[in-house]
Amino acid sequence: AQSVTQPDIHITVSEGASLELRCNYSYGATPYLFWYVQSPGQGLQLLLKYFSGDTLVQGIKGFEAEFKRSQSSFNLRKPSVHWSDAAEYFCAVLLDSNYQLIWGAGTKLIIKP
């Protein structure tokens, strides 16, 4: 069955430090992959997406993600985090069979001053 795994429930990072959030997926076909961010009381906002082409994808707010087919991964990175990045981050895969988004359980990012 298709699934998305975000192995880290919480991650704590110092402000200014680099960040990597992990995402692994299980899907037989070529995946359409997404990262969304959800701040308290806010809706889900798209950070970036991968459909095809260059495996390193640039997104908003200085985020990037790299699609690695051999590892079934789509990890999210940022070179230097800001306090405003504290939020919950969700990885998702779009099934082209029925156009559902399958979501990971999310990673809560905590920023230390």
């Binding site: 998305v4 359409y32 997404f34 969304y36 009381g41 806010q42 809706g43 889900l44 906002q45 798209l46 997406k49 459909f51 969700f90 998702a92 779009l94 082209d96 029925n98 156009y99 559902q100 988004l101 399958i102 979501w103 990971g104 359980a105 999310g106």
Partner: protein
């Protein structure tokens, strides 16, 4: 332009009551999706519409849940005989086509007492 809007933002009801949750998608978006998000989890697919018809309702948990989109724009999610387990945030999203980015509303927080 205006994003996806959902009303009400919060709904508190008693067990056994009927509720309706409304979603106004982005103008011109033909695809509309409903998801449910429980605390500490990623969103869970419920149903999606392409135009007026429900293209896939396989995520609806049981026959107490029903959704309509009569004119291909606004959608209403209807829950009969609510149960405490229905308490969650109900998210609506729309996209231009089925493989385009899904844009999310702020959600309706449903609490069943």
């Amino acid at each position: 332009g205006a994003g996806v809007s959902q009303t009400p933002s919060n709904k508190v009801t008693e067990k056994g009551k009927y509720v309706e949750l409304r979603c106004d998608p982005i103008s011109g978006h033909t695809a509309l999706y409903w998801y449910r998000q429980s605390l500490g989890q990623g969103p869970e697919f419920l149903i999606y519409f392409q135009g007026t018809g429900a293209a896939d309702d396989s995520g609806l948990p049981n026959d107490r849940f029903f959704a309509v989109r009569p004119e291909g724009s606004v959608s209403t999610l209807k829950i009969q005989r609510t149960e405490r387990g229905d308490s969650a945030v109900y998210l609506c999203a729309s996209s231009l086509t089925l493989t385009d980015t899904q844009y999310f509303g702020p959600g309706t927080r449903l609490t069943v007492l």
